[in-house]
Amino acid sequence: MTIGVLAVQGAFIEHEKMLEKLGVDCFEIRKSSDLDRPFDGLILPGGESTVMGKLLHSLNIFDTLKSKILQGMPVLATCAGLILLAEHLTEDSTVHFGTMPVTVKRNAYGRQLGSFYTEENFKGLGKIPMTFIRAPYIDKVSPEAEILATVDGNIVGARYKNQLGISFHPELDESTAIHELFLTMVKGASSN
């Protein structure tokens, strides 16, 4: 099993370290030729979604990644990654991949002073650490998407088919639970 990690900007190394801890191979996607390598799952990391959205186009990787997602490649998207997947953004007409039927509110907790850490329940995983950095949350989910976690009534984790979208940063904390959940999705997809 090999995971491609989008590495145009942001905290991609933290995801790679998580995968290393779990004994899974990965490589960085920085330009179109990187997409010639075969991979079974995709991670869209945290960082700045405006930067990543722009670089996906200028580096010619947008179309290939989007079609892979639409064809069912499992995706783990954290924070800015979730914004890339969202079909709609609250009070913002920007759409990046737009493959996940959710409406995401950017900077939903305000500026850096609003960043926080908590421990909450995540469906099927119990209580896990959650680090929110200038984080978004999910304003609305379509009925086909499943809500996996809420914090103070706001949706912070959801799944739609092959797409796992999370507004916090599992790559920054000790728990590997979210990454293990994603790898289970990847295993499921490749055995089909």
Binding site: G10, R30, K54, R111, Q112, L113, S115, R134
Partner: protein, 291 residues
Amino acid sequence: MMNKRYELNKELAQMLKGGVIMDVTTPEQAHIAEEAGACAVMALERIPADIRAAGGVSRMSDPKMIQGIQEAVSIPVMAKCRIGHFVEAQLLEAIEIDYIDESEVLSPADDKFHINKTKFNVPFVCGAKDLGEALRRINEGASMIRTKGEPGTGDVVQAVRHMRMMNQEIARLSSMREDELYDAAKTLQVPYELVLYVHEHKRLPVVNFAAGGVATPADAALMMQLGAEGVFVGSGIFKSGNPKKRAAAIVQAVTNYTDAKLIAELSKDLGEAMVGINESEIELLMAERGK
């Protein structure tokens, strides 16, 4: 300070990695920077090249001007306060700035003491010429470090010198016997725990960006290849012929900093780079402020 707050502040810097932070003086420039792919902007009234030209005392920017930029963009907004001027820092915290740069670019307000950054909830980035400076700032509560370089010159030589110095000193600490670290802590004037961290992890405990004199995509890629985790570009963009194009080119060069073919493409037709001043022609060395 709650320890978790410091963790969250270091983690925001982690999110900025692989990105370019651009100096902007107006909401319009902030828009251009965001459109070009800046991962954050530094709001200031005058860019370093103009501060240098104008002379006189340079202070924190007008909060109204900073707030104008905060409203104009969705990416993090940073702003500078003078070294040691903890009240300017308090004001920046009051307007909920995302990152404070306690910066040698402004005139120092204190020639001995830096701000006790552990007393703040907002994060601080500080400049450093070498490992000792970097660790002293971290000990005071900085959650991100940048090279000082020589701001407002368009001359990358000092940023290169500072980054190489930092790398050499980290390598030296990493290769020391553990019983030699106590003496290293004494020489560097920092607590043993920070020295031990660098020894064990072969890196600073916080994110380290390059800053000061970066003017071209090649300059930015040079700093990345030397080990910077991202780049600040101050005067280099809005003092150049085609800011939009140059900014976008520097952003791409930072992502693919080892791809010479791509960077060669990106470097074509960028218009005039900022004129620049050579190190030997400078009267005021900002990097010598605050050690």
